[in-house]
Structures are given as structure tokens and as C-alpha cells.
């Protein structure tokens, strides 16, 4: 596979949008899917489908093997220590809700503190808000500076002996800031505070190595990683999965069910109640293969080239204001334009086939802090090229024409 021609692996690009080629710059929202992933899913339904882990007939055996193979592949890809540390969920949102609920239920009490940042996506705040409400806990927000970074000293200052968990993003989906995770985790380890990383934006772009990173929890959305909808991953250190109570109750996650009491299976089953997304899980192993075949470092280099080209080109445009200037940025450019609302930008860009997103991107706290109600966001995936950036910039000039600014 050649990264320059990788678009041809994605069927979505075989169409015109408003008569123009599709320029998809909305991958931070959800990525497109290569045909290997799409075909694996159909093919699985056509030839191997059955419920996993429950029946002993041939189809069930096949499906179960494929499903558990996929777990091994995820384990290897993110370099987790044990396969039991990989829990399949509905998405990063569910992964974080699982931890907030199970960890919060057991370990967070009145007056305890949850440390997070002003950069977080609602999915890494609202679940903690629920625990704050239930337990009378406190959420502390490490402030973001004008560059869109969270300074490590600010985090240090906010850690107290009441801090029960640190919940922090890997890459901001607004400023693109790549967080200094190893430093933060180092700090936390000193105080024996567990760290949850919202890896939703990190996983599609950066090399993952759980043993090296040494975080306690890492949340992933497969649909942003060229995988299918409706699937996420929670990586959690084995000791936590042993200690935490289960999250949802139902078929498969039990050991013994009596009228008076219920005991639970061991991980990962303990956290996988009900029928799982077998076809999605199996197809996701093709997404991992896609990434591995290209090489995540190659993907990252390619995306960074496009990103830097984009930032430079947008900087030269006087009407464009790029949000944030982190020294370490990944895959995302949020911007505003004088006199043109991001919503209008998105609509005008779409007329040229350019798909971006406008709004607060589920980061209202950050937008409030920045004093803007909405931004336009171009986000980059493996299929984007410098030509896409050129088309984006032309379309931006068209916005100015339409609005006569």
C-alpha cells in the first residue's frame, strides 16, 4: 500500500459531493472505512456469523475464535500485558462511563477530588460530573494557557492527597494539543494516583504502548480508527479489573446466579454484559491490520506533513485565526474567520465538497474559556493530502467572497 494513493482503499471517495471530489476533513469526528474493513464485516455476516461464547456448534466456534483473535490483536497492537485487559465497549464514551461508574462507586467519596483539564471532551467530563453529584466529590480543572496547552506545573499544583483519579485527554480534539502524558503519569505514580487517558484522538494517530505509557485506563473509539461504528475499547490494568465492580449486568458476565446473590466472571467477561458486537469486533481487526500494514509511524509522518502544510497556509490567510498554538500538535486545526460564523463556513465549504465540522466539538468549557461559542475544525486522516489543504484554502477564500469580507 502506498500512502499517497491510499484514498483508493476507501470506497467513500468514489463519489462527487455537489459535483466536486470529496475532501474529507472530519476524521476527528469519525474516520472513513477502508474496503477491507467493510468487506470483512459483510463477509463475516455472510459466512461465519453466530453469537459468540455461548453455543458449541461450528458457527459459534468460528465466531468465538474470530472474536477472541481480535482481542489478541488489540492487545498486541497497544502492547498491553494481558489479553484480559482489553474490554470491548460501545465507544470511548462508554469506556469512560464504565470507569467513572465502577471506580467512582468504589473509590470516590464525599470531598474526594477528580483532577481533569479544561481541554476535555464532554465524554471525559459528564461521567465524572455524575460521580461528583452522587458522591459529593469535587472536580478540579487544570487550566489551559493561551497556546492551548495544560502546563505540567498547573497539574502538580492541583494534585492533593484527596485526588483519587486523574482523567485527561491524549490529544485535544479542538487545539490538537498532544498532552505530556508520560510526565503527568509520572507525577501521578509518585502519589499513587491512577490515571485515565481519553485516547479517542490519540489512538488513531500515535503509536500506542500501554506498558510503556503505564496509564491505568485508556479509552478508544474504534470508529475514529478506520474501524466500524458502535465499538470502543477500554484498556485497564488487570489489577483494576479485578478490583472494580462490574458495570452493566446481564448474560455472560456472571459466575453464579442465585435468588439471593450473584457472583461474577473474571475479566474481560465481567465487563462485557450481553451480546457483544461480534461483527464489529471482527471487522476491527482488519482496521488494525490496515494501520499496521501502513505503519503507524508512516501514518503519523504523513499526517504531520499535511497538518503543518495546512497550518502554515492558513496562518498566511489574514482572515483566518487558528485556535491554539501548542508546541506538540496532532491532526486537528480549529479556526475562526472574522465576520463569518463557523456554521456558515462549513456550509460554504461543503459546496466545494469539503467536509469539516463547526460548533464547540463537545468542548464547551474550553470554548467558554477561549471566549468563542464555536469554531470550524479541519481534522486530518491518513487519506488526506496537501491538495486537500489547497482545496480547503480555496474554499475558505470563497467564504470571504460570499460574505463580501
Amino acid at each position: 500500500m502506498d500512502i499517497k494513493n491510499i484514498k483508493s482503499e476507501f470506497p467513500i471517495f468514489n463519489q462527487k459531493i455537489n459535483g466536486k471530489p470529496l475532501v474529507y476533513l472530519d476524521s476527528a469526528n469519525s474516520s472513513q472505512k477502508p474496503k477491507t474493513v467493510i468487506n470483512r464485516m459483510s463477509n463475516f455476516y455472510e459466512t461465519e456469523f453466530s453469537n459468540v461464547g455461548r453455543s458449541v456448534h461450528s458457527l459459534a466456534v468460528k465466531a468465538t475464535n474470530r472474536f477472541e483473535d481480535a482481542r489478541d490483536q488489540v492487545k498486541n497492537y497497544i502492547n498491553a500485558k494481558h489479553r484480559e485487559e482489553i474490554i470491548f465497549t460501545k465507544g470511548a464514551t462508554e469506556s469512560i462511563n464504565l470507569v467513572a461508574s465502577s471506580f467512582g462507586e468504589k473509590f470516590i467519596n464525599k470531598g474526594d477530588e477528580i483532577l481533569t483539564t479544561e481541554l476535555e471532551h464532554h465524554s471525559n467530563y459528564v461521567p465524572w460530573h455524575f460521580i461528583r453529584q452522587k458522591k459529593g466529590a469535587i472536580i478540579k480543572f487544570a487550566p489551559v494557557n493561551e497556546k492551548g496547552e495544560v502546563e505540567i506545573d498547573e497539574i502538580k499544583k492541583l494534585i492533593s492527597n484527596k485526588t483519587k483519579i486523574i482523567a485527561i485527554t491524549h490529544i485535544s480534539n479542538v487545539t490538537g494539543t498532544i498532552m505530556p502524558l508520560k510526565k503527568i503519569i509520572g507525577l501521578a505514580k509518585e502519589k499513587k494516583i491512577p490515571v485515565l487517558v481519553d485516547g479517542t484522538q490519540g489512538a488513531p494517530h500515535l503509536k500506542l504502548d500501554m506498558q510503556d505509557l503505564d496509564c491505568d485506563f485508556y479509552a478508544i473509539s474504534c470508529h475514529k480508527m478506520y474501524g466500524p461504528n458502535g465499538l470502543g475499547i477500554l484498556y485497564a490494568k488487570k489489577k483494576w479489573l479485578e478490583e472494580l465492580p462490574p458495570y452493566q449486568g446481564g448474560g455472560g458476565m456472571i459466575s453464579e446466579v442465585l435468588k439471593e446473590k450473584v457472583t461474577f466472571a473474571t475479566s474481560p467477561t465481567k465487563f462485557e454484559a450481553g451480546t457483544m458486537q461480534t461483527a464489529e469486533v471482527v471487522a476491527f481487526s482488519e482496521a488494525i491490520k490496515f494501520i499496521k500494514d501502513l505503519g503507524i509511524e508512516n501514518i503519523q509522518n504523513h499526517e504531520n506533513e499535511v497538518l503543518e502544510y495546512g497550518i502554515e497556509k492558513l496562518r498566511r490567510n489574514n482572515s483566518v485565526n487558528i485556535v491554539g498554538d501548542p508546541s506538540n500538535r496532532g491532526s486537528v486545526i480549529c479556526f475562526t474567520m472574522k465576520g463569518i460564523h463557523p456554521h456558515d463556513i462549513a456550509t460554504i465549504l461543503d459546496d466545494d465538497g469539503v467536509a469539516i465540522r463547526a460548533g464547540h466539538h463537545c468542548c464547551q468549557i474550553l470554548h467558554d474559556k477561549l471566549g468563542i461559542s464555536a469554531t470550524a475544525r479541519a481534522s486530518i486522516g491518513v487519506y488526506n493530502s496537501k491538495e486537500d489543504i489547497d482545496i480547503l484554502c480555496n474554499a475558505i477564500d470563497k467564504c470571504k467572497k460570499v460574505f463580501e469580507v
Binding site: 463557523p342 456554521h343 456558515d344 456550509t347 460548533g359 464547551q364 470554548h367 460570499v402 460574505f403
Partner: protein, 148 residues
């Protein structure tokens, strides 16, 4: 979908120079709304007289050209009008966007009909319909919400 249909001269004019911005005098009704998906906000102030006439009508808000123009046009056209009439125009407007029709109201001036119809281009942009309609829904709530 024609961009020019959406961003007509009239719309851009209202968006850039919104009429009736701020709090009108002696407002006795108000309501606000926001769209959590995009961050648009609108706040309607109105003075409903004893005689059921909308004596004052204004708005504050933030948002895209469509939402600002829609608020500006709404206040411009409904100010000074009779309560029932404003309800009828509002329903006709909301209906226009639902059914892809145009508005024809004898009691509005030709100019006003043209102005209000300038928003009909939104019909072809489903994700933008809420931008145009939110302020009209907010206006209806304001009618219900008397301050005390």
C-alpha cells in the same frame, strides 16, 4: 443546493446589520434558547400591550448568518403587529420550512413577503433549518412567558 439561494443579499444584510438588537424598552415577556450542537444562542424581549399589540420586540444572540438574519427579520416584521397575526406569521414561516413552500400573506407588504421568503433557501440545507427556526420558536415561548 444553491449557495446563492441560501446567502441572499437580504440575508447577508440582516446578518451583518441586525435590526432590533438589544433589550427593547419596557419588555414584559422574554424567552431564550440555545442549540447545544453548535452553540447558537438567542434571547427574545418583547413588550405586549394591553391591546394585544406587540409594541416592542428585540433580541440578543450569537450565531451564524442564518440565525442572526432570521432573528433580525422576525423582529423587523412582527414589531407593532397584533398578537394573533404574529402567531399566524410564525406558524406560516415554520410551515414554509417544513413543506418547502413560500409564504403568501396578504397582510404583509410585498417587501416584507420578499424579506421573509429570502429565508426559504434554507429548505435545501436540512442541517441549517434549526438555525432559521430557533428564534421563531423562541418568539412563541416568549409570548407565553410573561415577566412579573
Amino acid at each position: 443546493m444553491e449557495l446563492k439561494e441560501l446567502y441572499q443579499e437580504i440575508i447577508l444584510d440582516h446578518a451583518k446589520n441586525p435590526r432590533n438588537k438589544g433589550k427593547c424598552n419596557d419588555y414584559n415577556h422574554e424567552a431564550k434558547a440555545h442549540n447545544p450542537l453548535c452553540g447558537d444562542k438567542v434571547h427574545i424581549y418583547l413588550n405586549l400591550g394591553e391591546d394585544k399589540n406587540i409594541k416592542g420586540l428585540s433580541f440578543e444572540g450569537e450565531g451564524c448568518a442564518i440565525s442572526l438574519a432570521s432573528a433580525s427579520i422576525l423582529t423587523d416584521i412582527l414589531k407593532g403587529k397584533d398578537l394573533n397575526f404574529t402567531k399566524k406569521v410564525t406558524n406560516d414561516f415554520l410551515n414554509m420550512l417544513k413543506t418547502k413552500s413560500k409564504i403568501t400573506l396578504n397582510s404583509l407588504s410585498e417587501d416584507q413577503v420578499t424579506t421573509i421568503n429570502s429565508l426559504s433557501g434554507v429548505q435545501e440545507f436540512p442541517m441549517r433549518i434549526k438555525c432559521a427556526t430557533m428564534v421563531w420558536h423562541t418568539f412563541l415561548s416568549a409570548l407565553e412567558k410573561k415577566n412579573n
